[in-house]
């Protein structure tokens, strides 16, 4: 059995209790993982004076792989987001977010299976903002050719490897002709190398409307950072909310798997939140490690627990605690 060393970042708020449940499930899946626990987030500030301690950075740099619980990003003022810092530091340029219907969560659609590939390092997240006069603020939207090419390449390769049929580039190039125009041009250039995959483009506002009206028509989306941030949450909402929305931040030599929901500090210590998003991020991580058997075992365990609907957390209409839900999945994994 192959051994893996993975940095575990429990985060803050409900993060530690979620990550502990996730660790137990993954450890029962049959993989051999040594977990290196490291700190991240607001709780680090008092002791280390930073949201992202040096020791944490070194662990990720060494292991090239981490799974992360939720952290809080101060709004408006204060410290930079630890999430964005990690993505930039390790150049995790591809944010992959699947949105697939979960049968137990009653939704008004028959089919949703959307894969979003969000460019994760550029756009208006380049952190270039100025008060250019006392009444005018400016944020630079930075789109680069190599940055756009590599996220398009990533999306097409992933789509091909996973037998997906269509990719749509989401943009607003009718208005932002330089920036979104460059992103679209790069997408079209890369698409020429993948004739077996249907390559189309769609304007972001139309895409939003179509996602709400008829989400079943979508397959894969590749998006600049800001549209990807917003629309991937929209997709998560379509299938049942952020509690079931996994995510991966992937670069050429490093990957960090994380849920996209917040740290829900008001529920911290109550052990009632749904760990599915981090757990399904863990499933993505196991597949990334080519531990497909273990990943499938967990997926089947989750599916069984959700189908039986006896041990659901409050957000899915049940009363089970985080630990009871995890225990039910572990038990289900023994029989699937």
């Amino acid at each position: 059995m192959k051994k893996h060393v993975i940095t575990m970042l429990p985060g803050e708020g409900t993060g530690p209790e979620i990550c502990e449940a996730v660790r137990r499930v993954i450890d029962h899946s049959g993989v051999d993982i040594t977990w290196e626990y490291e700190e991240i987030g607001l709780d680090c500030l008092k002791e280390h004076g930073t949201l992202l301690p040096e020791k944490t950075i070194k662990s990720i740099a060494k292991n090239k792989l981490a799974i992360k619980g939720p952290t809080t990003t101060p709004v408006g003022t204060g410290h930079k987001s630890a999430n964005v810092t990690l993505r930039k530091m390790f150049d995790l340029y591809a944010n992959v977010r699947p949105a697939k219907l979960i049968p137990v969560l009653k939704r008004p659609w028959d089919k949703i299976d959307i894969l979003s590939f969000r460019e994760n390092t550029e756009d208006s997240y380049a952190a270039i903002e100025h008060m250019v006069s006392d009444e005018v603020a400016q944020c630079l939207k930075v789109i680069t050719w190599p940055g756009s090419v590599r996220i398009a390449e990533f999306a097409f390769k992933w789509a091909k490897a996973n037998n997906r049929k269509k990719i749509q580039c989401v943009h607003k190039a009718n208005i932002m002709k330089m920036t979104d125009g460059l992103f679209l041009e790069a997408f079209r250039e890369v698409a020429k190398k993948y004739p077996e995959i249907i390559a189309e483009d769609i304007i972001v506002d139309n895409c939003s409307m179509q996602l709400v009206r008829n989400p079943g028509q979508f397959d894969c989306l590749v998006l600049p950072n800001l549209y990807g941030d917003i629309l991937s949450d929209l997709c998560a909402g379509l299938v049942g909310g952020l509690g079931f929305a996994p995510g991966a931040n992937i670069g050429d030599n490093c990957a960090i798997f994380e849920a996209v929901h917040g740290s829900a500090p008001k529920y911290a210590g109550m052990k009632k939140v749904n760990p599915s998003a981090v757990l399904l991020s863990g499933v993505m991580m196991l597949k990334w490690l080519n531990e497909h058997e273990a990943a499938t075992r967990i997926e089947k365990g989750v599916d069984k627990v959700l189908a039986e609907a006896k041990h659901l957390t409050y957000d899915a209409g049940g009363t089970a605690s985080t630990d009871e839900y995890a225990d039910a999945i572990i038990k289900a994994m023994e029989t699937v």
Binding site: K80, T121, A127, E129, P146, G147
Partner: protein, 115 residues
């Protein structure tokens, strides 16, 4: 001439404005720029696509483009004329696409830091 609508626009409470530095966007194919002394200003950080690449750790995996934001902070009180001299000297060695003066508004910086 001010339009009538301009005269009616919402006004933000005024704060004292102090010039404290300048961001210069340098274009180079030779990697992270290294700067000499430019008189009234001192280099504070350099970022590429918003990621800080100097000083400090830079991942060997980081992809950079040929466009660097270089933040120069004033060593002491400075004027617009000091920025003119600074940019004039910078032009002798570097190609740059734009410069943005950095102001504090009251006690608050009117500019973001790099990641």
């Amino acid at each position: 001439m001010l339009t009538e609508a301009t005269s009616r626009r919402a006004k933000r409470p005024a704060k004292p404005i102090t010039l404290v530095g300048v961001d210069v966007y340098i274009i180079t194919e030779d990697g992270i720029p290294a700067f000499d002394d430019y008189g009234a200003f001192k280099i504070e950080f350099i970022s590429n696509r918003g990621t800080k690449v100097w000083p400090g750790y830079v991942s060997p995996d980081l992809m950079m483009v040929n466009w660097y934001r270089c933040r120069f902070m004033a060593k002491g009180p400075v004027t617009d004329a000091d920025v003119d001299v600074f940019l004039s000297n910078l032009t002798k060695k570097w190609k740059w696409s734009a410069a943005q003066k950095l102001w504090n508004y009251g006690d608050e910086a009117g500019f973001s830091k790099a990641y």
